[in-house]
Each structure stands twice: as structure tokens, then as C-alpha cells.
Amino acid sequence: MTGLLTYLVKRLVASVVTLLGVVFVLVVAVQFLPGDPARVIAGLRATPEQVQRIREEMGLDDSVFVQYWRFLENLAHGNLGVSARTGDSVASEIWARLPYTLELAFFGTLIGAVAGITLGVVAAIHKDKWTDSIVSMIGVMGISTPVYWLGILLIMLFAVTLKVLPASGASTPQSLVLPSVTVGVFSMAIVARMTRSTMIEELGQDYVRTVRAKGAAERLVIYKHALRNAFVPILTVIGLQFGTLLGGAVLTETVFAWPGIGRLLVDSISARDFPMVQGIIFVFAAMFIVVNVVTDLLYTVVDPRVRLYG
């Protein structure tokens, strides 16, 4: 058990270090922004003195390291700054919208994982036959499809033509369907490819031959043994896909007018609301890192070797 604990601690420390690095990058990035954040907050008709005062208030003239430290300090208090556009707390704005994005990311990952694993297993079982080629095609097409185009196509089909699902907003449970599917397609394609190749590899292993030699049903061979062994790399991929999904979420939220932080990010960039941009990117990075650690933890459930030896 101690092996597991040390492993966990090591991962957490690495994550924190990375996160600190991300923050550093963000703070530095703000230095290089075209335009003056203080001016944006002050408004177009502000006098230079007013702008200068805001600069001092925001501490924009301080050195990078001071700003870095201040950001971390604020962060510890749950304070991510104040939006240049609305004047509201960045943290509260993000907090209000975060659940929507999480919802989208979660269901997207779920759809991607389930569909991807199913396709991958089917392709591996029927290797080199028609089914396999079809799944391969779906895979390649899946990673070539722009999320925003797919979203628009789905809207055209389901909302405009068939009128079965809503085109935008987050008002009803059904409105979750199209956005989740859109954001999950890319993930599905990658997971399917990975599942297929891992399953093929596992099915060629000696222990699979042993199970067959025992006279066990093929069903057991595939699901109880091969798939379970394949799960570790597949899980890695699903975890990695979460990061890609977050990027896709930004675009999907725009297409579907989904009230998550992705859309907020886009609006903030257009409006030059740098504190907000900073805050949202930080939250994205944090989410991604958390998912990575959780994925690592899940390995221990699946693979007893990791459990005992870390």
C-alpha cells in the first residue's frame, strides 16, 4: 500500500509543479499582449491618469515575479481577479458556467469511450474483413472532421430538417445530445483505433491461447481476458482525449450557444478581457491535470501489478 501512496504523492507533486509552470506562462503572456489591459478596463474615454491608476491598482507595472506571486496568493484565496469587461469576479463567472462545460466534457468522453471501444473490439475480432475496413474508415473520417462543421451538419439534420432536437441553448435535457455527440466524435475515432490495435495485440498473446486451450467460450476470451488487459492503454488514451475534448468544447459551445466557459473564453479573447482569459486557461489546465492524475489512479483498479508495486 505504501508503494501506491508514494506514487500518488509523486504524481501530485509533479502536477503542482506543472500547474505552477502554467501560471508562470500565463503571467508572462499578459506582458506581451497587444494593447493595455488597464486601458480596456478604464474604457475608451479615460484619461491617462485614470489608466495609470488602474495599472497601479492591478499591479501591472510590477515585475513578472511579483505578479506571479500575487496571482498565486490570490489563487489560494480563490480569487482569480476581476473581469475587465463586466467588473465581476472572474472566479464567480467561471464557477457559474463551469458545470455546463463539465457536463459536455463528461458526456462527450463517455460517448466517445463507449462508441470507440465497441467499434475497436468489433474491428479487432473481425480483423482484415469488411467490418474492420469500415471501422478504419470511420476512424480516419472521425479525426478529419472539424467539430464546428459536424455541429452545423447535425443541427441542419436534426434541428432544422427533422426538428427532433434543439439547435442551441441548454434549456432541456435533449439539448445536451447534439453537443455531446459532436464533441465526442473525434475522441471516438481515436479510442477506436487504439482499442483495435491493443485488442489485436492482446488476442495474439500466449495467455489468450491458454484460455482457448482450456476450452473456454470465445466470449470469455475476448471480454474477460483480452479486453481487460487492453484496458490500461485504452484508459490512457481516453484520459488524454479529455484534453482534446476541452479544446473541442470551446468550438462546440460556440456552435451550439452552450453556456459554458469555452464560449466565455472566446468572447473574452475578442473583448481583450485578459484577466478572464487568464483565469479560464488556468482552469482548463487544472482540469486536464486532474484528469491525468485520476486516470493514473484508475490503473490501480484495473491492474493488480500496479496496485502492489506502484
Binding site: A213, A216, R228, N229
Partner: protein, 342 residues
């Protein structure tokens, strides 16, 4: 003469690959009798494993291969059976103890679970009875404190212990035939003897015939009643173990005997057979052994005609060599010639 448990006739297996057709097994025929131990000897690539795997339908389904011939097990042709029936025979009537114990167990499940799976594949049993049976089997193969071993994982075991677990799986359903594919190759010399003891005990326990596939002649000498010698996918000689060892009637077999280290003898140096096994995609015409054969002496028939496996001398001794009668007289000459070359 009792009926054979397994009767293989003209079994051929070839694989279709991008670069050509590989004739792994070429018209192989032999019998296995009840209760006996049959050794199948040959170098790597001689087709001995493929022969047995093809009987059980265990060649990976993704490989493209063709099988022809007949394999009668208790009157039924294994090669013609529908998959479902073949699956019933696997693990119940015919058991396989595969080659490499390190990779043959699923790392994610306990040993007890996996041995239990062998039982459950063919018998319905309530959980408690199943556990008891598994513990019993583990005890049979020599695990100390078998109760505790049930919940351990393969990676917690040494190679020898894993091999015992594989044997336990093999005898779980009292098979009539056990096929052991290189059971000791991957193990330490010190463990090998132990494992062979376990295998012998298992064979006795199940009242089974044992087919022992190996390239270790010492093992054959100790364990086998009869021997089949394979080369390049063909059977070149077959007979009782004493006969084969004392009076080999095929140049290849002779070469194998000559390459045995003689304890305390003059022959300190191993005499490997000169040359290498043929490329399975481009087998030589005529006798497969002729390029390396010292008996051929350039005679044409060796190059053109495939020798048939025919009886020689006493009953039950078969050899596939055009000059099988000469082998006995030529033995000393051939051995010293081999000594000169190497």
C-alpha cells in the same frame, strides 16, 4: 493391438503470407496409444508445435492457413469438427500445457481463478466446490499450502510454479491426452526435473497419454515410451525409444544422437549437424534433409524423390530415408565424418 487414442494421417498445414506459402507441416502421420508417453523431437521450425496446435484449432485465427489430412481422436476427426464441439474437447479430453509459463497466464487474474476457469469451462459447479477442486488440483501439482496459493497472482510466482499451475489446468478435467509443448525449455535446469516429476504424476493421476514435444533428447530418453522425429515439417523416423537411441535408422536422427554430450566420454565437443534447417518457403526438392546429409553422397534419388515413411526391421520402427538399410552399417563412419567437419 489396442486402438490408438489419437491417429494422425497425412496432416499438412501451410500458411499463406505476403511473401509466399510456408509449408510448416507436410503429410505427417503417427499414432498415440492409451497410457503411453510419446516424444516428438525436432529442431525449432520442424513443425512439431504447429502439428499439435492445429489439432486443437489453436492456430491464431488471424493467420491465413490451410489444413488437410485427418486427425482421429477416439474415432472423431478433429479437423472436421465444428468449432463448438472442438471447444468441448479442448481442455476436457485433450489438454495443452503450453510452452512459456511466463507469458501463458493472464496477469490480471488470480491463479485460482484461472485454474477454476479450466474446470468451469466444462463442468457446472457451485463456488465452494469449485474452490475445493482447484485447491485439490494445486496440491496435486505440488504447491505447498495450496489454500493460500489460490488468491495469488501470476507475477508473484516463479517460472516453475507457473508451470505447475499450467499443469494443474491441464489435468483439471481428467483428459485422455495431455500435450506438453516444451514444458521445461524456459525453466532452470534444477527445476526441470521437478516439473517432469509433476507431469508424470499428473499423467498417472488422469490415466492419460502424454505427447511430449521437445528438442531435449535427454528428456525423451527419460520419459518417453515411443518417439517421433520430425524435420522440416516431415516425420523422418518413429519407433520405440530404446530402438531409436541405440539403432537410429535415419541420418538426421543419427546426427542428433551424435550431438549428445557423452558424460565422461571422449567426445567432449558437441557435434552439431552441419548446415541449417531449410527455408520453409523454399523447401529443397526430394528429401528435405539431403543438403545436410552425409549419407546422401550426392546420390540422385535423394535430390529428386521424397522418401516414404516405411517400416524397417522389426515392427513399429519406421524411417523415411532412401538408404535406411545403410544407416546401421555406416554409423561409425558417419559419426567420425561429422567430427571432422565441425
Amino acid at each position: 493391438m489396442t486402438e490408438p487414442v489419437l491417429s494422425i494421417r497425412d496432416l499438412s498445414v501451410s500458411f499463406r503470407t505476403h511473401t509466399g506459402v510456408v509449408r510448416a507441416v507436410d503429410k505427417v502421420s503417427f499414432d498415440v496409444y492409451p497410457g503411453e508417453t510419446l516424444g516428438v523431437v525436432g529442431e525449432s521450425g520442424s513443425g512439431k508445435s504447429v502439428t499439435m496446435l492445429s489439432l486443437l484449432g489453436l492456430i491464431p485465427p488471424t493467420a491465413r492457413f490451410d489444413i488437410s489430412g485427418q486427425a482421429l481422436f477416439k474415432g472423431r476427426d478433429l479437423l472436421q469438427l465444428p468449432p463448438k464441439e472442438l471447444r468441448e474437447i479442448r481442455g476436457r479430453d485433450i489438454a495443452l500445457v503450453p510452452q512459456d509459463p511466463m507469458t501463458c497466464l493472464d496477469p490480471l487474474f488470480t491463479v485460482g481463478n484461472q485454474v477454476g476457469e479450466a474446470v468451469r469451462a466444462h463442468q457446472r459447479m457451485p463456488k465452494r466446490a469449485l474452490r475445493r477442486r482447484v485447491v485439490e488440483l494445486l496440491g496435486l501439482v505440488g504447491f505447498p499450502q495450496p489454500e493460500r496459493q489460490y488468491d495469488r497472482y501470476p507475477h508473484q510466482y516463479s517460472g516453475g510454479m507457473r508451470q505447475r499451475a499450467m499443469i494443474a489446468m491441464g489435468i483439471a478435467n481428467d483428459p485422455s491426452l495431455i500435450i506438453a509443448d516444451e514444458p521445461t525449455t524456459a525453466l532452470d535446469v534444477t527445476i526441470q526435473a521437478q516439473i517432469m516429476e509433476v507431469l508424470k504424476a499428473a499423467q498417472r493421476e488422469a490415466h492419460a497419454s502424454l505427447v511430449l514435444i521437445t528438442h531435449d533428447l535427454g528428456l525423451i530418453a527419460e520419459m518417453a515410451d515411443r518417439v517421433v522425429v520430425m524435420y522440416a515439417g516431415h516425420v523422418v523416423e518413429a519407433g520405440r525409444v530404446e530402438t531409436i537411441f541405440q539403432e537410429p535408422r535415419h541420418p538426421y536422427t543419427l546426427g542428433l544422437m551424435g550431438s549428445l554430450p557423452q558424460a565422461g566420454g571422449n567426445d567432449r565437443w558437441l557435434r552439431p549437424i552441419p548446415g541449417t534447417p531449410p527455408d520453409p518457403m523454399r523447401p529443397p526438392p526430394g528429401c528435405p534433409f539431403h543438403p545436410r546429409c552425409l549419407l546422401a553422397r550426392g546420390r540422385g534419388i535423394c535430390r529428386t524423390a521424397l522418401p516414404a515413411l516405411e517400416q524397417i526391421g522389426m515392427a513399429d520402427h519406421l524411417s523415411a530415408c532412401h538408404f535406411r538399410d545403410e544407416v546401421a552399417q555406416e554409423t561409425p563412419t558417419l559419426l567420425s565424418q561429422a567430427a571432422e567437419i565441425t
